[in-house]
């Protein structure tokens, strides 16, 4: 076991993968000399040189588009978007190009690229630098979507993403970079596409991913003091989606809460709740509760920002109400 941060685990994953696979290169704004806006790629340019850490002009659509083309030509690019909020500018390259190419061209050409980015609240970064936009990605057939919550997954999910035959959008959480955990990177990770059950309880299941996993675990700890035992599931990847793990837990408990930082309406939580309601209907004792971001933009004001997304205390409050 060693102490490692989420940030360092991501860097280690990139480093190890780049040593193994000469076709991997990183392309994005400030990824080389600067070392990434959040320090993930710091020092890699010294190790791999500027040809494998391509600093670009501020040209997000061309960054993603160039990665698509390089992947089509047999390379394995890692494109970086400094903030997931910038994904809007790249939607054509991501959703019309990367996501469609394999299918549209009859399976001839794959796009084995990773788009690394980060999202979420917590830094008073305002409406255009704090969003949780994973639903845009999950809504688009042809894109894989990974969202690591732990240091172990920061490493292993990224390594696994870099072995996928299809485009993977890899969304980190800006509030997790400094998260430090004791990890054994040699411990085998769950398979790609498998959820992780972090806590087992008979009373309800909380299904979540990314930073909200930590909120769920914090809440579950408090609930346990009241004798309410929750199962907490970290989905790890939203595409592929491990519904079997969810189904099993819902069948055991009969009560389900879905927890996500993204906006409630038509969001990831909406999809998960709908699926649980449809597929586990006979086992449910209550409506599936969605705890998600409010349907509003994120404010720079810290109080409004924090109030815009679920907190551990909100999870505790509604888990208790669900148990009544």
């Amino acid at each position: 076991m060693e102490k490692m941060t989420y940030r360092d685990a991501l860097r280690q994953a990139l480093r190890d993968a780049m040593h193994e696979d000469e076709d991997i290169f990183i392309i994005g704004e400030e990824v080389g000399r600067y070392g990434g806006a959040y320090g993930v790629t710091k020092g890699l340019i010294d190790e791999f040189g500027p040809e494998r850490l391509l600093d670009t002009p501020i040209s997000e659509p061309a960054i993603v588009g160039a990665a698509v083309g390089a992947a089509m030509a047999g390379m394995r690019p890692v494109a970086e978007l400094m903030y997931v909020d910038f994904i809007g500018m790249t939607m054509d390259q991501l959703c019309n190009q990367a996501a469609k190419i394999r299918y549209m061209f009859g399976g001839q050409i794959g796009v084995p690229m990773v788009l690394r980015t980060q999202g979420g609240t917590g830094r008073s970064a305002g409406a255009q630098h704090s969003q949780s936009l994973e639903a845009y990605v999950m809504h688009t057939p042809g894109l894989r979507l990974a969202m690591p919550a732990t240091v172990h997954d920061a490493y292993h999910l990224l390594r696994q993403a870099l072995k996928q035959p299809d485009p993977v959008v890899f969304i980190e959480h800006k509030g997790l970079y400094a998260l430090q955990e004791d990890v054994d990177l040699n411990a085998p990770p769950p398979a790609w596409g498998k959820a992780a059950v972090h806590r087992q309880g008979d009373d309800l299941v909380i299904v979540t991913y990314s930073r909200q996993l930590h909120y769920a675990l914090e809440a579950a700890e408090i609930l346990a003091q009241d004798g309410i035992e929750a199962t907490v599931i970290d989905l790890r990847t939203l595409n592929p989606l491990d519904f079997e793990t969810i189904r099993h837990a819902v069948e055991q408990t009969g009560k389900a809460m879905v927890l996500s930082e993204g906006p409630l309406t038509a969001g990831v939580a909406a999809e998960l709740a709908a699926r649980i309601s449809e597929e586990c209907f006979d086992f449910l004792e209550n409506p599936v509760l969605r705890l998600a971001g409010e349907d509003i933009p994120i404010s720079v004001s810290a109080g409004l920002e924090a109030g815009s997304v679920p907190s551990p205390s909100l999870v505790v409050e509604y888990a208790r109400k669900l148990m009544k």
Binding site: A37, I58, S124, N286, S299, L304, K321
Partner: protein, 350 residues
């Protein structure tokens, strides 16, 4: 160097100084404000650390804005405090916004990167590089269609020269002969990337010429040069010939408040900071016979004014929690239902 008086008529806009001393005062106010923004951060009173200071770029803001008129509109990039001050912003309301307080221009929702004020023609600062540029095409279209005589000015940095939307916008502005001006404040650095690391074609205004716009570059060292260049560009735009003006300056400090610029040398910074339009104006004014006392009084007044902005911001309240749901849509429209309310409704039915 002698003082070159400007000959333009007094605009009805906020920057009504027609002489160097007035321009000096405006530049000093901006620099002092930016220094106080830094202090607000150090005191833990700013909303976050994404504070992008325009120290060193004051002549670009003051020079261009002094050539604008009341009724003109503009958008800025994320480094836009100085521009808005030069267009007549109330520094108290700006500082309060930067602190995320309800007395701020956007009620504490926007912050440093999202200050706007419809009344002063500020259509918004932006945290997406290039994000505010096409809005001036639209504002120019509106002005042309309504015959208002207004010009719309997009302010952005050299970093935005990499964004495709700039070129789409310039093409439309030229094609339709819109009263639009694109102002690139070229401070040489887009975050940690020097302009020549982002493009081989570093004479930025030449790109505008290719689209059929008027294009020019001016050095920021002498604010009167900036005034003259901006006046020419803006007057032409008002007459239907859109233009592009690059103002060459230097970003004195890091990209944002926490960035110590490890990617550039001390020598470069020392050299770059010699391009100081405030020092230059000070020297010229002294040579023209203005006393040290007189200039100190201007500096002192700016210091007192901007000190007060910190007190104002700190004394102001954060926005009330129920303001969270306001302004997603227009007043009178139903607000989004708060999550708690929704969950309680669902559980009550159960």
């Amino acid at each position: 160097m002698s003082i070159k008086p400007t000959t333009r008529s007094a605009p009805s806009g906020k920057v009504s100084n027609t002489d160097l001393i007035g321009l000096y005062r405006e530049m000093r106010r901006i620099r002092t404000f930016e220094e106080r923004v830094g202090e607000l951060f150090v005191r833990g009173q700013s909303a976050g650390s994404m504070l992008h200071l325009s120290i060193g770029e004051e002549s670009a803001a003051v020079g261009v804005c002094s050539a604008m008129k009341g009724g003109d509109t503009f958008t800025t990039h994320h480094r836009g405090h100085g521009i808005f001050l030069a267009r007549g912003a109330d520094p108290n309301r700006m500082m309060a916004e930067i602190a995320g307080k309800d007395t701020g221009y956007c009620q504490g929702k926007g912050g440093s990167m999202h200050i706007a004020d419809r009344g002063l023609g500020h259509l918004g600062a932006n945290a997406i590089v290039g994000g505010g540029i096409p809005a001036v095409v639209g504002a120019g279209l509106a002005a042309k269609r309504r015959g208002s005589g207004a010009v719309s000015v997009a302010f952005f940095g050299d970093g935005a020269m990499g964004q495709g939307i700039l070129y789409e916008s310039m093409n439309m502005a030229a094609l339709w002969s819109l009263p639009v001006v694109f102002v690139c404040i070229n401070n040489q650095w887009g975050m940690g990337t020097r302009v020549d690391q982002a493009t081989r074609a570093t004479v930025l205004h030449e790109r505008a010429l290719a689209f059929g716009l008027k294009g020019d570059t001016v050095d920021s060292i002498d604010v009167l040069d900036v005034v003259a260049a901006a006046q020419g560009t803006i007057d032409a735009a008002r007459a239907g010939m859109p233009g592009f003006l690059a103002v060459d300056c230097y970003r004195f400090f890091g990209h944002a408040r926490k960035d110590k610029s490890p990617y550039r040398s001390e020598e470069e910074e020392t050299d770059g900071r010699k391009k100081d339009p405030i020092k230059q104006a000070h020297t010229e004014l002294t040579q023209a016979g203005h006393t040290q006392q007189e200039l100190d009084a201007i500096d002192g007044a700016a210091a007192a004014e901007m000190d007060a902005t910190i007190d104002f911001a700190i004394a102001s309240n954060p926005p009330a929690q129920d303001a969270m749901f306001r302004d997603v849509f227009a007043p009178g429209e139903p607000e989004p239902e708060p999550l708690r309310q929704r969950l309680d409704r669902i559980l009550a039915r159960d």
